[in-house]
Symmetry: C2
């Protein structure tokens, strides 16, 4: 029996309850600021009225092609206007957007298409050969649509696919688009690039997308009419929800097909870009560009970085160049960034090295995330807040995924004990800021002692001639595992393996120093993450010798 | 049968679903920025750690005193730290905060206490005599707690009440405060000062408070660490949710017992206030202050105004004084402001008179409100977007109240047809901005023609010697009703009744000109709204003569 008088005769109804969805952001932006520039792409300028009309047209055309609630629409694109339109048009007919990483192998794409039961695939012309190969391997036979991007200069190959503009033109630009039936309905599916086993399909919902999209603006104080440059791939966790954030603040998207220094600097200077995101490698690319490619900026630019803590020299260079760098952290399972290195005013007065130490920490929860902690995964008890004791970073709240698609076992495991288990190992500092120490699988267990590969990497980064370092486990007869380092040196560097190992022994407990150092270019994912599983394979071969 | 594969095995659980509540904002602020100043009150400075600890203590003490989910805790306060603590401490034990307007009569307060079934009453010492009178008239016998504010200089009267600090001290500052069981649970009740019939208790929920509190920051681009001055009464719609907004952006509350020009100017200059809210009368008060009370400001201050469109000369004066004025609109039923006059950059280049015309419009929906329209209340069809056709302003979305407490009939009426009926009459401009033309009950029906009292008032305001004007219906033998104007003149003004009526006849259709003009000081509510029901009574007497 309900005894709370405040729950009697005070029920939800259409006047006081609507599903939360980021689709309402675009409707508002187009109604209030129809003429404001929503999208810049090369010479193309699209207003919010046009962006909204085209998104509705796409939603209408998809509905006419048979898409209903819970149907998957796949998208394989560079950072183009079409990709932005997919982020609105697909959910406007209650479809689920499946963004595909353009660097994947055809076989993995085929797996995703089949697993997501894709009904329609929209593909940028550049990636059509890849998609055709994937479709030849897949069981599903989705409707194929090709987008001809004006900024893609590659050769035109005849293909048996509908043209995106023609498909869209058949839709109704005045479509009364559909709100989700429930804010818990799926808005997207993104497959994680698991290093073992099949990829897992992370399902996000409208409620979480609404909250994280607003959270991006609130957490980082992004103001009305910000200008955002697309250096982060949109296929990566729905571009961290920024395709939706920009509509909330009536900002401008500056699209970019390729992450190269010159167009980045030109966009910063010519389009008045105020914000961009990327891994540290994007910063390196910008900073190491030849002087003639760089441009003078008349405003401070906010750079949101994730994936790895930015090295000290890079941070210093960025500061000099007029950038304010904020370190974010999250996973596909948390809609992108859900953790922010929330900066204290006083920290800016500390010596640069201390600032870098503070900036390398992942930080604290977004406002949109209700819980963030470092727990012992066995006992689920928080680790001591001492900055030393390792535990697993865990999340709880409204910006954690619905679960893994068609994978109840993994879903159950990853939510065990009422927390999302990130698989990342870290510590909790006394001030409540978390810091990653390793992925669970990246811990090196040597003679029963845990070695954090990040700790060894950080030591290597302190060597003046090391540009990039990655450390993985190498099998060892006596100790079980030992650290093996892979290193890219700076230009004209002269250091050799023995002296680098010696440098580590001077700065680390002896058992933590790498037993081998390999100089080579490191394998990276499309988002700039170092592919440690490839290095682990290499290290296994080295260790076996 | 569920056929949507994205709703299979992907249910809510504690890891991915938590009730939305603004209480999490304070927890985050206190954890991440414990030393940041949360509250300034005279010489008092309280950090976020202290604010959070005291709120938890209050929640703990209230729970020990028997407050459980759905119990009402009433608060009668000036804008003090205790009132801020009530906004967190009461819901932390799942109580419902009932803020009382300090200008009300004891009999109305007694009605509210009984209707809300108040269990505990927390009262500022200044208002204890009023509360004691109310309690002598009420049936309920709540626990009485008195707050002794250091900034209140009035005489101390012995009273049979618990001391707030002692009550609070018995609570646990480390209370593991309770999340709401459901985000739809009530967080507050606010009684509207209805001009006829009993006051209605507007019930707000945690979800709406979370969304509107964030909406304030997002809609107005309030950045991290903003400093907010409490010129708006906190008892008025929970201070438009700003007690919660400030925690979301880790800002600073500057409390203020009385709205007087000197402390306002001092706070702006000495505390670095960046934002404040109030009716146009607060602006008048600041602008008309003697020069020696004014202070030079080294930063632009955001002023959010509501209740009535600000007159042209006032806007010009505010601009000169370094303020950026934004016009907001909403009702208690919409958590305070849910509509914003969202300014277009290009409008700032228009002639001042055109800017004022644009600024007088109420505007467009907050991001947190899903629907805003002007509808024909009979047919529920939208009126033409012509800026002329009147209809009723209606709201739909997550920042509309749960309903009226213990009043199913009024609740049903006000939500008829799936929209919240505001009772305000207005028009929709071609660009989607709404403008109020009148309260339904303020329309003057003269010879079968509707006259907008606001239109007549706007005409009077254009007369150079008119300071404030209010127009209401006066009974008339021939025409049924005719307009009667009440006017405050500017200092040293010489205009008389006949020439003001003549001025209106020159600028309005003849039947719209007031038949009488009365020069007097206008009665106002505590929030600066002109009390038209008093003027209507006066006009009735004049017309009957």
């Amino acid at each position: 029996m309900e005894t709370n008088p405040y729950n009697t005769g005070l029920d939800r109804n259409p006047a006081n309850y609507q599903p939360l969805t980021p689709l309402t952001f675009l409707e508002r932006a187009a109604t209030v600021f129809p003429d404001h520039t929503a999208i810049v792409h090369g010479a193309l300028r699209r207003s919010y009225a046009e962006f909204y009309a085209r998104s509705r047209q796409l939603g209408s055309a998809l509905a006419r092609a048979g898409i209903v609630r819970g149907d998957t629409v796949s998208a394989l694109h560079a950072n183009t206007p079409a990709m932005l339109e997919c982020h609105y048009g697909v959910p406007m007919c209650r479809g689920v957007l499946h963004s595909i990483n353009t660097r994947l192998d055809a076989s993995i794409i085929a797996f995703q298409l089949d697993h997501a039961m894709s009904k329609i695939v929209i593909v940028d012309r550049e990636f059509m050969p890849l998609m055709q190969e994937a479709l030849s391997l897949a069981s599903v036979t989705p409707l194929l649509i090709q987008y001809d991007d004006a900024e893609f200069a590659g050769p035109y190959m005849p293909v048996d696919a509908q043209n995106f503009e023609e498909f869209l033109a058949a839709g109704d630009p005045d479509l009364a688009w559909l709100m989700p039936e429930d804010e818990w309905d799926a808005i997207s599916i993104n497959y994680t690039s698991g290093t073992t086993g099949d990829p897992k399909g992370v399902v996000s919902h409208h409620r979480g997308a609404y909250l994280l999209a607003q959270g991006n603006a609130l957490t980082t104080s992004m103001a009305k009419h910000a200008v955002y440059l697309w250096t982060l791939p949109m296929f990566h966790c729905n571009g961290w929800c920024f395709p939706w954030t920009l509509s909330a603040i009536i900002g401008t998207h500056v699209c970019l097909r390729q992450v190269r220094a010159e167009p980045i600097w030109n966009a910063l200077a010519d389009e008045g870009v105020t914000h961009l995101c990327g891994a540290p490698i994007v910063m390196s690319l910008m900073i190491s560009a030849p002087d003639e490619a760089k441009r003078d900026l008349d405003h401070t630019v906010q750079f949101f970085t994730a994936a790895a803590p930015p090295p000290e020299s890079l941070l210093a260079d960025m500061k000099t160049a007029g950038f304010d760098v904020t370190h974010l952290y999250g996973l596909t399972e948390t809609y992108g960034p859900a953790v922010v290195n929330d900066w204290h005013q006083g920290w800016s007065d500390l010596p640069p090295a201390e600032q870098v130490t503070l900036k390398s920490r992942q930080g604290v929860r977004y406002l949109a995330l209700e819980g963030l902690d470092v727990l012992d995964p066995e006992t689920m008890a928080p680790v001591p807040r001492d900055g030393k004791t390792m535990g697993e970073v865990m999340f709880r709240g409204n910006v954690v995924m619905k679960g893994y698609f068609r994978n109840p076992k993994s879903t159950q495991e990853v939510f065990a004990g009422g927390w999302f288990h990130s698989g990342d190992l870290g510590v909790m500092h006394p001030d409540g800021y978390i810091q990653l120490k390793d992925r669970s699988k990246d811990v090196i267990i040597s003679g029963g002692e845990n070695i954090s590969s990040i700790e060894v990497e950080e030591t290597l980064y302190r060597h003046p001639e090391v540009a990039v370092a990655a450390v993985v486990a190498m099998p060892h007869d006596k100790w079980g595992e030992v650290p093996c380092a892979f290193v890219e040196l700076k230009k004209n560097a002269m250091v050799d393996e023995a002296s680098l190992i010696g440098f580590c022994r001077e700065n680390l407990a002896g058992f933590k120093a790498p037993k081998r150092v390999v100089f080579q270019e490191l394998p990276r994912t499309s988002t700039g993450k170092i592919q440690k599983f490839i290095l682990r394979d290499q290290a296994r071969n080295i260790g076996a010798k």
